[in-house]
Symmetry: C2
Subunit: 852 residues, 2 copies
């Protein structure tokens, strides 16, 4: 200890400042960017006491050998303080070691503790600096972010000592330290600076709030160095720790462990298939009086090697991130994308996702990984927050390990059965009896059509029950009844069920013919705080005065009592007339619709409070068609269903978008007071983690496929029908979304989501001069921007500049022409939604679409 | 120690037998069934020294309190023997404890060591028995399966001491012990008997062969009790161990840990969301002279509680397994299944998969979980062996945690880019430049058709380049050119590209019209060891004598030189004539085919050795059509491609089934010497773990979608386009299959799989009187059974009894009419294939299809 003490004292008296302490951090909220202009690593331990701090110090010493270099050591959470202080250990050992190696190396080192618990007396904190900051001096900056006195798990210490720290606060403090590193190293080369963050205990040890540290730090997803365990049992502990990091999406760059003579490195290297280097440290002297200088010297080349590994992994990552956009442009063919119109710099590199946020690579000013709210919910698939994502990841690993995929016909496995049960008890409750699995919304629709046509054919005697020869065909032409501006998917069968549109032309699909009778539905819209009715041509009113039909509230619109109104009779006769036009060889064999379509309402709070809601889907078409956001009159949809039912025409609901709380209710059946014979689900069904779809049907539909011949069965099936991972994700997510214990947005009645979009801002938005209409509903908040001519419609680039600015604010939206929307998940907190609205409002202030 | 010693001695002298020892087990190979007629649990430790054996003893004592009960304790792997012997500890402590509780309880206990390393002297083995087997006596049977002297990790001990044991041997020995339990407990109630297997060290500690124990024991997938760690750092170690078990598909039923005053149970319970009970044992006395009797007594109610948890989880599992078939029948709608024809008892409960094997629940004689080889490769999707499955499971957990799903258009993420690169360097090498992702083979085909039609339209001036309005359509009718008996998927667009069949009739798909020119292709077949040609009507031979066309070898058939033959000219003129029939409004806009179709050859070894192979797909149709297994003449396919190319008709290869080594080569392009413009892949692409498909295209095809308007882009895309989990599975599996380091079946040239099906048995099968033809090719071995009339064809149930017997033998096959097939993975060992063939041959001996 002698050498060290003298060194320490000789340097220490140069500067000794006391840093100000904050007992509870209250940083302003800001996007938690991870700087990439220098290498940053997390040091994780496979257990406590495996030597994380020794490794940190070793890397520091190795880095600081280069002149002008900087090393930043951050210890976010320290317990047992001040007697234990890893940060102090690092500064002491490294300073001593560097002095030993070359007493004339100019070094500036500082050590500070940012926040301590009240139990820690201020006197005991030894913040200090060593050496002079000056030209040529290497820099070692060590910081302890939060410290507690008791040597127990941080969550216990925090609870007992009164320094309780929220996860977001730890992250913000850490983020602020990262920014300090950026500032401090602004003039440095990438290779001259390194930042290391040392965790506390093992990978899954709780942080101050009780969150596991591997979960707590996940938003940054910093690459990992895992300090393994060289003792007996250490192979297992190291591998398990590695797997916990893997299960959170971390990249482990190297494993380091102390040699205990058990050759643990062998099985570890074979476990990683030599893809992750495993480095073995010589045995650490156990004598507490040993100053470890000899040991560190003996580790010199090993730490230098480790530092090189960390550098090269860093440079490789940076290189890859920079190259990805060009590579993607060269070999990827994106769906729904005109490659020629993707602007330079327009390719987003998504490094990861954490809950509702993408982590994207930005390289404009400085290179960073920045969180961006996925406000398009990745094509409306997303639902999980970070907690559910972690749970789903574990389920996916489990399902893949337990089942991989297994063949489905005539077989049963738990996930499929659980998933089917959960659906029949939820979205299919009260009407559905059977679940048919497929891969996506489009295939679910094709299956639904096959089901409906068979049911119709059986009911209408088009297939004699005894006749099971299939080759004959029939001279009957079966069509669907559908609404204009509907959209049911991209495969040909699903496309045939939609009216002609930009997707169906010869340019896109030469085989499209449009096998339907497509009705232009009546809609309601709001004017002067009253709901008015808009009827397309073809309706005959008799002595009914159209002007007199207004609605004071949504309750009125959705009220079942309207079934007895004169308007219902008008609808009914209109539909009858349309259907009677199809005599002879053409038959309407199925009704297919997205139940409910709505738009434009600013009084969302009332809407939700009245327990009414609406479904919205394919709003691009609504806008494109009539130039405004109207709602299909739910009465019309109900009359349509009734008319079809009375004619034994099977009814299909397309709930691919609306299912599972997207619009505030688990299924829109709850709103429009009528049930289908067949319904299709997809997208959010698995929590948005994996493709899976399902077509639900009544037993009556199922029975029309029962017979003595296999050829009468529904001969449709995809290779991965009911794949266990998908079913397990669905069986986990669907109950998660509806359980108030896991989803705080579920109201006490359990049937509605609470209001996510702040009523006040929604109103403000709706009266903004740039805005035509706003709909805030369930997880969706959509805005129609005022636009005319070529600025309106699907092909419009009108909103691009606005959305570009919003991406800078950390909000990832995609336009549909002049409509933009925010879509969150069923569990997203209203606070987050609030922030999104504020950002949107702020950017709208500067938006002048016409000039942009 | 006094009390215990006297007890021990007093009982011990009753019986003391020396068991025979085997130094290396050589059990015959048999299916590793797990009996379910009593509860069996594995005791895992989150680390070494956490008290697994105490827990085992506690459960044993609790179980044996009930009269007539039996407890079986198995310790497969013991190191440090004989000074450490967990098995001896258990028998000693439990016997002592029971005696203390009630000295008059009749107990029979035995302890034996089955195999010891040569380093262990026989003298030191204390096999012994206590008490009398007799009416009313409870039974405690303790066995150590393998023991080594050195107190190190088993893989080191095994290496050093010379008792090396293969994983399969450990499993077989364990299986044999399970059967002993069954025999011994035959007259017991379920609740009177329990079996516990205690592992060594931590969950991921290596076993004797070096395999991690959590991998080693995975085929049994026995439910787990995890003994956690109550010390500092123990939360992390326990959670990580839990996750390692989860990542192998184990169910953890309870966590037990010793109290060290750190309240570790709190975070553990919140981690499992209270779904897994966490039990806390009082501190264990550290004094080695303490006989622990007091401690055990203090744990009495806790162990009794744990035993109840184990019982109720067991009974719940049994109940669920029994109920699943009925529940499935009630609510599931299986694809391609006539529910009325599913026989009683015909629903297979798949409990899990391990590599190529399903683990199915059988309840005929006794309840067991039995491995069954998935010989239909779950609709041709499967490839992984157990090792790859574990790796993929970890990748799936990682991908889900890192990305979940993220939106694709205009974005890029690593898995998508890696997957695209791997495909362009492999199956697309030499021709493809772009990758378009979708969800399954059917959607990949629909996308391919859209691509081809656009390319054709642009090339043939059907769409003026300046004209980008899509609503016009065109009066042109675009058809595909395809071969009879083709099949490309179940969605309407894919169906339209196939000739009429059982799948396309009005009963199945009223919208099907068959938008193609479907050619009946020439085929080759073998007779008298010569390859002959079979030409459908419509070919004109001129002065070419058909009889003279024979081929001595496959080399001849595939030889590129045939392009200059007269037959090539005949093909060419036939094709020209067919195409010229399509003038006016109808155009052939694309050629779509499964490249190569073959059948019937017994000389597989030569086939492979000659570097020739064939593709087979949709063989159901081949058989249905011509009643025999022929091969489409590859020359005809090549001429077809050339004729189309010269007419600027884009060529689509459907490689959904054939891609990725299914038939011995990574892509069949290698065999037929011509490339497509577009190709579709799916099924095995992800290693069979998750749905994903891709359509590959040339840059020329891609360019036909480039323009100034979004409306000219390919407006097709599914919600989960390029989902990261799928892409990551593909980017892992595709290189895995082709790398000789991971796939020993790859030959040194790296272009072919070695022969998997034993030539001798294949020949024997082919000359079996019940067999018409055999094809053994790549991962496929197909048999056409001799059948006539209604026994032949798709609807036939002819093979049912044969396959039923094979399921009893552990081989899960599905018939396609009177064709049955074995399909393995690219990594499956020839030894396994050999066993499958032997089983098949044996059952064929008893098969009389006509009488069955």
């Amino acid at each position: 200890m002698f050498r060290f003490s003298s060194l320490f004292l000789s340097r220490r008296h140069n500067h000794l400042r006391r840093h100000s302490l904050r007992h509870l951090s209250s940083l302003t909220s800001q996007p938690l960017e991870l700087p990439l202009s220098f290498p940053t690593y997390f040091i994780w331990g496979s257990n406590t006491g495996v030597g994380k701090t020794l490794v940190s110090a070793g890397i520091a010493a190795s880095t600081l050998l280069s002149p002008h270099s900087q090393f930043h050591y951050l210890k976010p959470v320290q317990t047992g303080f001040p007697s234990d202080s890893d940060s102090r250990f690092v500064i002491d050992k490294v300073a001593q070691l560097l002095f030993l190696r070359n007493p004339h190396t100019p070094l500036f080192a500082s050590h500070s503790v940012l926040n301590v618990s009240p139990a820690v007396t201020e006197r005991s904190i030894e913040n200090h600096e060593i050496g002079e900051q000056g030209f040529g001096a290497s820099k070692l900056i060590c910081k302890t972010l939060y410290a507690w006195e008791e040597a127990v798990s941080p969550h216990l210490a925090a609870e007992r000592e009164g320094l309780e720290v929220k996860d977001s606060t730890v992250l913000e403090t850490l983020h602020s330290c990262f920014r300090d590193v950026v500032g401090s190293g602004a003039d440095k080369e990438r290779s001259e600076i390194m930042c290391v963050v040392e965790t506390a205990g093992g990978v899954a040890s709780p942080g101050p709030s009780g969150s596991l540290q591997c979960d707590l730090y996940r938003p940054f997803r910093v690459p990992a160095i895992l300090v393994g365990d060289g003792r007996l049992g250490g192979i297992s502990g190291t591998i398990s720790a590695y797997e916990s990091l893997t299960l959170r999406g971390y990249d482990v760059v190297a494993v380091v462990l102390e040699d205990h003579g058990l050759l643990n490195e062998g099985p570890l290297m074979s476990y990683t298939r030599n893809k992750v280097p495993v480095l073995v440290l010589p045995p650490v002297p156990k004598d507490p009086s040993n100053d470890l200088m000899e040991w560190f010297e003996g580790c010199h080349s090993l730490f230098s090697n480790l530092k090189e590994i960390m550098h090269s992994a860093y440079f490789e990552r940076i290189k890859k991130l920079h190259e990805m956009p060009k590579k993607a442009r060269d070999i990827i063919w994106w769906p729904f994308t005109q490659h020629k119109l993707v602007p330079d710099g327009g390719v987003t590199v998504i490094d990861s996702r954490c809950g509702e946020n993408f982590a994207v690579f930005k390289a404009q000013d400085a290179e960073v990984i920045a969180p961006v709210f996925d406000a398009c919910a990745s094509w409306w698939t997303q639902g999980p927050d970070a907690v559910l994502q972690t749970e789903l990841a574990r389920e996916m690993g489990y399902a893949a390990a337990r089942y991989g995929h297994v063949m489905f016909p005539e077989n049963v496995h738990e996930p499929a059965l659980n998933c089917a049960e959960v659906m029949l008890e939820g979205v299919g409750k009260g009407w559905a009896s059977r679940v048919y699995f497929s891969d996506n919304g489009s295939t679910a629709i094709e299956i639904a059509l096959k089901m409906a046509f068979r049911k119709f054919s059986v009911d209408h005697g088009l297939i004699p029950n005894s006749h099971e020869d299939t080759t004959d065909g029939s001279s009957t032409d079966l069509l669907v009844l559908a609404l204009l501006r509907s959209y049911h998917g991209d495969t040909l069968g699903a496309m045939e069920a939609q009216a002609p549109s930009a997707y169906t032309g010869f340019l896109q699909q030469p085989w499209y013919t449009g096998r339907g009778l497509f009705l232009d539905p009546p809609s309601v819209f709001m004017r002067n705080n009253k709901w008015m009715l808009s009827l397309p041509q073809g309706f005959h009113f008799g002595n009914l005065k159209l002007d007199s039909i207004t609605f004071a509230s949504h309750e009125e619109i959705f009220h079942k009592g309207r079934d007895k109104s004169k308007l219902a009779a008008v609808y009914s006769s209109y539909i009858s007339k349309q259907l009677s036009g199809f005599k002879g060889s053409a038959n309407i064999g199925a009704l297919i619709m997205e139940p409910g379509k709505i738009f434009y309402v600013t009084f969302l709070s009332q809407l939700i409070k009245c327990h009414f809601s609406f479904t919205l889907s394919s709003f691009v078409f609504i806008i494109q068609g009539s130039g405004g956001m109207h709602m299909v009159d739910p009465l019309f949809q109900r009359v349509l269903v009734n008319e079809c039912r009375s004619r034994k025409i099977p009814v299909i609901f397309d709930e691919v978008f609306t299912g599972f709380w997207r619009l505030g209710v688990e299924t829109v059946v709850e709103l429009i007071h009528c049930v289908p014979d067949i319904a299709c689900f997809g997208k959010l069904m698995t929590g948005g983690i994996i493709p899976l779809a399902a077509t639900l049907a009544t037993n009556a539909v199922f029975d029309s496929f029962i017979g003595d011949s296999k050829l009468k069965a529904l001969l449709h099936g995809h290779s991965y029908s009911a794949h266990p991972m998908g079913c397990m994700a669905a069986a986990k997510s669907i109950p998660w979304f509806k359980d108030p214990c896991s989803n705080p947005n579920i109201t006490s009645e359990g049937r509605f989501l609470r209001e996510l979009w702040d009523d006040k801002i929604v109103r403000q938005l709706s009266s903004h001069p740039a805005v035509q209409r706003v709909v805030a509903l369930g997880t969706l908040c959509a805005l129609e921007l005022k636009a005319e001519g070529s600025n309106a419609g699907y092909g419009s680039l009108y909103a691009r500049s606005l959305l570009q600015h919003l991406r800078e604010d950390g909000v990832y939206m995609r336009p549909i022409g002049n409509v933009i929307y925010l879509l969150c998940g069923p569990c997203t907190s209203p606070e987050i939604c609030h922030q999104l609205l504020l950002k949107l409002y702020k950017r709208l202030e500067d938006f002048d679409g016409i000039k942009n």
